[in-house]
Amino acid sequence: MKYLLMIYQNPATWQGMPESEKKAFMDEAGAIVDELIASGEWVGGEGLADPSTAASVRVRDGVPAVTDGPFAEAKEQVVGYCIVDCESRDRAIEIAIRWPDARRWGMEVRPILSPDGVEM
């Protein structure tokens, strides 16, 4: 079963962190990615550019409204994601718990809908 792991950060806090600490964060996450690749659970994932570079798009009555920045003015924003294919929800949560961002900010684990189903 596939899960989306959304990585949340407070971009302002991140920017204020010393380079060495940022590097430690990224190394820690990188090591987990390597492990997931080796175990055959890694499907994919990427980091996102700063939320200030986002564009939010809505179309109402055929008229597009495009505004700069993310949808919500929340302090924590999605800064990256990964998709894992693993045995259970518990295993996906276990991976999220190890992510360094979970200690400082947070992670969200969401099951990905499968295109398959069985009659009832």
Binding site: A38, I112, G117, M120
Partner: protein
């Protein structure tokens, strides 16, 4: 493998025999498995052009052996370059591949047994089910990594890594290419059957997308289970599992409506069920039930058989199904079995006792987040003609479903019932005035 159906069929048949022969001669299951894949690919491209060799199996064994010995030699050369002499020397490279041909005739007879030995190895209890499945499909089924990745909707690199890790784990356990010891035989066979069962289920799930290129895992599961049945004709559970697969597969033509919508069992057009598969499944399960010790797959096959024998949903022998679920719950209790038994209880004794049974499952953490519990509860409310409560439960089930077609089915059913409930309320109001 893009090749004609006849060649592909033969190659898939020969894959485990060739791998068995190579592993028994050289060991190195991991590298041997890669070498056999390469030999199969070479055959798939060369045979259709150059014609099939006189002894296809011998050809594959020779080519795979040559690749393996080349690989082992280059591995060793690299190790010599890279590692300090302090490390223990690995076993030396095997003799020339020419020796292979001499031993071949004696091994031909054991080719069949190799399939089972390979299944035991690929379904090693140390591996996760996902790894057992992937490795079985490759090493015993002869599918390529790309085909397996497509079947499981993951990138090829993910699947390649999963297979490679599985082989490393097997090597780490020190498992040898041999049948498990007598004391473990039965429990190891259970794992093999469970992997085949999972393979079938993975393939049976109807897809809502247009992924027509996904290989048929159900066909592969049936093919491999048939092979195991050929090797263990007296085993009732092997027969039971094969019967369960055939009786379930028989419903395939009827289980999907237009646009990939799911058609529940009760609403399926039974004239579209595959009578040939049903006939074979019925004969198998009847034979097993009368000659072999009872087991969970046989009972599940017997339940599928009762459904298969009902000309219409209304004619289903629910008391018989309930008796079989009682039996299944006794020999193989699980919350999923209880859930299914509740459906039978509802059909025989009515929705109230079934809802009581379901209430006991609500606190079972193994059922937490399982949308089927809410779906069965919804079904019970529907039987009780409490359409409002049924619609609420179907909606709750839809929220927790992680499958697109199942969610669509549950949402549509909830909407339909809510509309009925609304009409009933309106009628009640009008009637009351």
């Amino acid at each position: 493998m893009r090749t004609d159906a006849g060649t592909e069929h033969l190659l898939r048949e020969l894959a485990p025999q060739v791998l068995g022969a190579v592993v028994r001669r050289y060991g190195h299951f991991d590298a041997a498995e890669d070498a056999v894949q390469e030999a199969l690919l070479a055959a798939a491209t060369q045979w259709p052009v150059e014609g099939m060799p006189e002894r296809p199996r011998g050809w594959l064994v020779t080519v795979a052996s040559r690749r393996l010995t080349d690989q082992l030699r280059s591995d060793e050369a690299r190790r010599r370059r890279e590692t300090a002499a302090a490390l223990a020397e690995p076993p030396g490279p095997p003799g020339p591949a020419g020796q292979a041909a001499a031993a071949e005739d004696g091994e031909r007879a054991s080719g069949q047994d190799d399939t089972l030995t390979l299944l035991f190895l690929c379904c090693h209890p140390e591996l996760t089910p996902a790894s057992q499945l992937a490795l079985t499909l490759r090493a015993v089924g002869g599918l390529t990594t790309a085909e397996i990745a497509r079947a499981f909707l993951v990138p090829e690199s993910t699947m390649a890594q999963r297979i490679s890790r599985a082989k490393q784990r097997i090597a780490a356990t020190g498992a040898r290419f041999a049948a498990p010891p007598a004391g473990e035989w039965a429990s190891r066979l259970r794992v093999v059957l469970h992997v085949l069962y999972l393979m079938f289920n993975e393939g049976y799930a109807a897809t809502s997308g247009g992924e027509t290129s996904r290989p048929e895992l159900t066909a592969e599961a049936i093919r491999l289970t048939r092979a195991v049945r050929g090797l263990l004709p007296g085993d009732g559970e092997v027969a039971g599992l094969l019967a369960l697969m055939l009786l379930t597969e028989a419903r395939r033509p009827a289980r999907c409506g237009p646009g990939g919508t799911l058609v529940p069992l009760a609403e399926q057009d039974r004239s579209r069920w595959d009578q040939e598969l049903i006939g074979e499944g019925l004969a198998l399960v009847t034979g097993a039930l009368t000659t072999a010790p009872l087991g969970a797959y046989q009972i599940q096959a017997a339940i599928a058989a009762v459904h298969a024998e009902a000309a219409t949903a209304a004619e289903t022998d629910w008391p018989q199904i309930l008796a079989l679920y009682d039996l299944l719950e006794r020999i193989s209790p699980s919350p999923v079995v209880t859930l299914n038994r509740a459906v039978a209880v509802a059909m025989v004794h009515g929705p109230r006792p079934a809802l009581d049974l379901l209430a006991a499952l609500e606190t079972d953490e193994r059922m937490a987040g399982n949308h089927r519990l809410a779906a069965v509860r919804a079904h019970c409310h529907e039987l009780a003609r409490d359409h409002g409560a049924a619609a609420d439960e179907y909606r709750a089930a839809a929220r927790t479903a992680t499958s697109i077609p199942e969610r669509r089915y549950l949402e549509a059913h909830a909407a339909q019932l809510a509309a009925t409930a609304g009409l009933a309320r309106a009628a009640g109001t009008v009637g009351g005035q």
